[in-house]
Amino acid sequence: FAQPRNTDSYDYYNYHTISEIYRFQDMLVAENPNLVSKVVIGQSYEGRPLNVLKFSTGGTNRRAIWIDTGIHSREWVTQASGTWFAKKIVTDYGRDAALTAILDNMDIFLEIVTNPDGFYYSHTRNRMWRKTRKPNRGSSCIGVDPNRNWDAGFGGPGASSSPCSETYHGPSAHSESEVKSIVDFVKSHGNIKAFISIHAYSQMLMYPYGYTRTAVKDQAELHAVAQRAVSNLASLYGTRYRYGSIINVIYQASGGTIDWTYNQGIKYSYTFELRDTGRYGFVLPASQIVPTARETWLALMTLMDHTFKNPY
């Protein structure tokens, strides 16, 4: 098998294993030493590095934007899109005025494989694997839903207490190192102003809350920005998204990522559910990766640009 020699020859139109994505990250850093660095924020349960790409043009502890993809491992189009986003950022910096302005003033953190053990397992043993891979005491069922493991209504309705369920919340909030590492990073950084967590599939852009019907105090603004983001997304291929708060657009879900980040004071907390062709579900054909990433990028830029222009 041929390995790409650089990130230009990386095949963005196909799915890749975790080792190929790790290699991609190292190549991107090596090719762009003044813009990209790799931050290892922790280790997964099985000891894999939790790599975050930091895009920065300098400064100290600048205001920052966080993006993560692939916390649910079987949602392969998200990790693939994350890889495309990483390349897009280095390609567009200096060429695209909006992105350049953002990066001249803010940092972007991108975690492409947020659940590496699950991702590896989905490639090697079970393509349908969604959770982490930590064993559960007293149960033969493995793993926790890392999107129910956050300290925001933890253990409430919309999460399961059964380790065999796909929505098992885990023994305690932040019990999963994949989650705790982000928690520690966000807290220690202290200046993250937007947090965008990307899932697949069903074409939705959502903001908090999922664990309570109480509206967030910034609802009007978050709603208006979401509307603009999905409109820009649709401008490319006509892909239609629903948008709103998690509990209104989907259902009650406790312990979710962006509920926690919002409660930490990160106003621009959003979560995506990427493209759904209505034919393939999690097995979206590789030919859809780049179109999905391209349209999502337009929405991401809307969110990032708004964050940049509306400091708080």
Binding site: F1, Y13, Y15, R127, S202, Y251, D276, G278, G281, A286
Partner: protein, 93 residues
């Protein structure tokens, strides 16, 4: 490697609150070993669910006796996964 021969993915669009409630009950039911790909949200919103081969007949019967319409989104999941793997191998070469 776990395989999914004969597993099908159903698409079900709940027509009313009764069907919605029925689908919600299925989410908590381990009997059919269902894997909800797209969870139950509201009337008119599609629900996608993977059904293992062993549960196919009983699950279909469960839906039909309750007058719940469904379509098959993926006929044989393993066939789709095989194609996906083939594409990955081919691209890597």
């Amino acid at each position: 490697k776990e395989t999914f021969e004969g597993h099908q993915v159903f698409r079900i669009v709940p027509k009313d609150d009764v069907q919605l409630s029925l689908l919600k009950d299925l989410e908590d039911m381990f009997e059919f070993q269902l894997d909800f790909w797209k969870d139950v949200t509201g009337v008119g919103t599609p629900v996608d669910v993977r059904v293992p081969l062993d549960s196919l007949e009983s699950f279909k019967s469960h839906l039909e006796t309750r007058d719940v319409d469904y379509s098959i989104m993926i006929e044989d999941l393993q066939a789709v996964l095989d194609q996906e793997q083939e594409e990955m191998d081919s691209a890597a070469r």
